[in-house]
């Protein structure tokens, strides 16, 4: 008779059964019968054992008897044959059923199909075996660590490296093999990874079996289950000792280079023109005072270039655009504090593998050198200036002395003479004597004057071929410091087709220097416009060369234009008035002319014109002009007498 309870039992999703206290089955539900294909009568007593896999039967029965003896509930696993003959794994769970007095009168059990779980476990085992094979087979050091951070296992390469068995390694504290200097940081990082689950990535020295420490790069990553729990840490350890050593070497040589660059105030750079990729050494960043963390660009460089040198900078870029192989520049930088730096750049361009021009070069800070050059130039110019002033000053003083002495005698003698003649009776003999002395002193004064003329109008000049352009450049260089001090800007327009002339280079340079310094003097009070001087040379008609010096100074009184060239005429408070007169006599001795004109705008222009061949002069006066320079005549110029 089937009760409602029996129906429920029959329909439960499990194989349910009961047994008597001695273990003999007295009930199996319908699902049991359906699964095994056995009837209740076949299953009763020990009949159910026929459905158990023969390999599992003895173990299952033994276990089952064990439960009965102990009176405890328990679990067992065994394969049960399905009606179609296939065995599937089942979990047998049994528990005793006591009566009111507590005595076990029956056993109840339920069998659950665990075949799928068993299969999964098997698959996992297979997977683990494969993984193990891979781990052992990889030519790399792989260590497995437990989720707690302890050593779990290690492949043969690890064992070989440390020269120990896994058991010995496991007996050691974690971090045992680190180099003492690396241990603290390595352990700290490892503990951090274990706590947070963040991958581990660290370089440290590990001690090899022979006691040698080698650098290793260790990467550790956790393997997690579906719930995100860490199952195991894999550590991949790569020997980077060789790489590390070459890095060290590289670092050392880089350090040497950086030091050399610092000491020599030289930096190096590379510049790929097409992509504008610029790489600077540290030293260049220092020179430019720019932050090494920000990328270099031409714009950033240009922001430091001295405004006057920007054309140079642009010219350099233009030349790079034309793929010119050699670049060399000297330009200035203006630093944020207003200080000026002088840089000397040399670069060599080579096409890279993509055919793009790459410039490799060096930049040297030549500020100190320039400063000493400037100081030297200033000194030289100072000396030249002093020499000019003192020679003129000394000349004037000696002229004065030479003339004053006989004048003094003349006047004193004349006074004495007058006094003697006025006496009563007149002292005629004495007067005659003093008159004679007067004549003598007069002649002496005249001698002085003619000696002076000889001095100024030096009759012989040393003839040599002179490139007037070159002479101008030298004079500008000589006067540079003076001109800088006077804030005078000199511009030169020198004709490229200027023929050489025959003349006295030193004397001509004296003239040019005199004109240039006069121009600067004429502008010393000019404040409302820039103090510009233009020196121009050009070939003139009639085989002559011309030179003019044009200033924007105070000019001169038009009525006094010719007086300018008279000796001792001066418009300057401190001038001797000799320069222009000497200059004119020098130019005239070269068969040329020197004159002054007022500009249309402010200032004056002093010009001279000299024949290319002496004697052909435009205004060449005197004997020198007529035939003295015939074929084999000595190189000598006659001055106008």
């Amino acid at each position: 008779m089937e009760t409602a309870f029996d129906r429920v039992i029959d329909l439960l999703p499990g194989l349910v059964w009961t047994a008597l206290a001695d273990g003999q089955a007295d009930f199996v539900n319908r699902r049991w019968c359906e699964y095994t294909g056995l009837s209740f009568d076949q299953a009763r007593g020990r009949g159910w054992q026929a459905a158990v896999h023969p390999d599992d039967r003895a173990r299952l029965v033994e276990g089952w008897l064990g439960f009965i003896q102990s009176g405890c509930s328990g679990e067992l696993e065994a394969r049960l044959r399905r009606h179609d003959g296939e065995y599937r794994w089942f979990l047998f769970r049994v528990c005793p059923i006591p009566d009111a007095s507590g005595e076990i009168v029956k056993w109840g059990g339920i069998n659950t199909d665990i075949e799928d779980r068993k299969q999964a476990e098997k698959a996992l085992r297979a997977l683990e075996r494969r993984a193990r094979m891979i781990v052992d087979g990889l030519p790399a050091m792989i260590t497995l660590m437990t989720p707690e951070g302890e050593l779990g296992n290690a492949n043969q390469y690890v064992l070989e490296f440390f020269g120990e068995t896994i058991e010995v390694l496991k007996s050691r504290p974690v971090g045992f093999s680190f180099h003492p200097d690396d241990r603290a940081e390595g352990l700290a990082r490892w503990r951090h990874s274990v706590q947070t689950g963040h991958p581990y990535d660290h370089e440290a020295r590990l001690r090899r079996a022979d006691g040698v420490y080698r650098w290793f790069h260790t990467i550790g990553f956790p393997l997690r289950d579906d719930d995100g729990r860490i199952l195991v840490w894999y550590l991949l350890q790569t020997d980077i000792d060789d790489r590390r050593q070459s890095e060290d070497k590289l670092r050392r040589s880089e350090a040497f280079l950086a030091e050399a660059q610092r000491v020599s105030a030289t930096g190096s750079f590379s510049w790929i023109f097409a992509t504008n990729e610029i790489v600077w050494s540290e030293q260049i960043y220092r020179m430019f005072g720019l932050d090494p963390d920000e990328p270099v660009s031409l714009e950033r460089i240009a922001s430091r270039v001295h405004p006057d040198d920007v054309p140079l900078f642009e010219d350099m870029i233009a030349r790079a655009r034309r793929h010119e192989s050699g670049l060399e520049y000297e330009h200035r930088l203006v630093m944020p504090d207003g200080s000026i730096k002088h840089l000397h750049l040399i670069a060599h361009g080579v096409p890279d593998q993509h055919g793009q021009m790459e410039y490799i070069g060096a930049v040297q800070d030549v500020t100190d050198r320039r400063h000493s050059e400037e100081a030297l130039g200033a000194l030289r110019s100072e000396i030249a200036h002093m020499a000019r002033i003192t020679s003129l000053g000394a000349l004037t003083a000696s002229i004065a002395h030479e003339v004053n002495q006989p004048l003094s005698g003349i006047i004193t003698n004349a006074n004495t003479c007058l006094k003697m003649l006025a006496a009563d009776p007149p002292n005629v003999a004495g007067a005659q004597e003093t008159a004679r002395r007067t004549v003598r002193d007069g002649n002496r004064a005249a001698d002085v004057i003619s000696r002076l003329r000889a001095l100024f109008g030096k009759k012989d000049i040393a003839l040599e071929p002179v490139d007037l352009n070159e002479a101008v450049r030298e004079v500008i260089a000589l006067a540079w410091s003076d001109l800088q001090r006077g804030r005078v800007v000199v511009r030169s327009e020198l004709a490229w087709d200027l023929p050489q002339i025959m003349g006295d280079r030193v004397q001509l340079q004296q003239v040019i220097l005199n004109l240039l310094l006069n121009a600067a003097d004429a502008m010393k009070d000019v404040e409302d416009r820039s103090r510009r001087v233009l020196i121009r040379t050009r070939p003139e008609d009639g085989d002559c060369v011309g030179l003019c010096v044009q200033d924007v100074g105070v000019g001169f009184d038009a009525k006094a234009a010719e007086k300018l060239f008279e000796a001792f005429y001066t418009s300057k408070g401190d001038g001797m008035g000799i320069g222009l007169s000497v200059s004119r006599s020098i130019i005239e001795n070269h068969g040329g002319r020197l004159w002054a004109t007022l500009n249309e705008g402010p200032g004056a222009t002093f010009s001279f014109c000299i024949p290319v061949r002496p004697g052909d002069g435009p205004g060449a006066p005197g004997p020198g002009a007529d035939g003295a320079m015939a074929a084999n005549a000595p190189p000598r110029l006659g001055a106008g007498s």
Partner: protein, 123 residues
């Protein structure tokens, strides 16, 4: 009549040594030329000299050197300096040392007589 005052002329320039004593004598002074400061210091006229007309720039011992030497010797002879060089630079120094006047060559007769007047007024 008292003895004429003695004026010593010390100048390395011969024309001055020739001309100036003659002119001074025309004015009634006794005058004696010396070619150098040393010659004057060595002469027996040193103590009798009433006034000194002294060139500034001379080789070896200059006019101001002699001025200092006389001071050192305790000889307070009035000095009229003469020079053919620019006078402006030495003028303050020699006047500060007690010189009566500094005359630039060439000097006029009037300037000379004025200076002598001043010298004897002081002397």
């Amino acid at each position: 009549m008292s003895k004429a005052r003695l004026i010593a002329v010390v100048d390395d320039d011969e024309s001055v040594r020739e001309s100036l004593p003659d002119l001074l004598r025309e004015f009634g002074y006794a005058a004696e030329p010396f070619a150098s400061a040393r010659e004057f210091l060595a002469s027996d006229r040193l103590a009798e000299t009433d006034c000194l007309i002294l060139d500034v720039a001379m080789p070896e011992m200059s006019g101001p050197d002699l001025q200092r030497e006389l001071k050192r010797l305790g000889l307070a002879i009035p000095i009229i300096f003469i020079t053919a060089h620019a006078a402006e630079r030495v003028r303050p120094a020699v006047l500060a040392q007690g010189a009566v006047e500094l005359l630039s060559k060439p000097f006029s007769q009037t300037a000379l007589l004025d200076a002598l007047g001043a010298a004897f007024l002081e002397g």
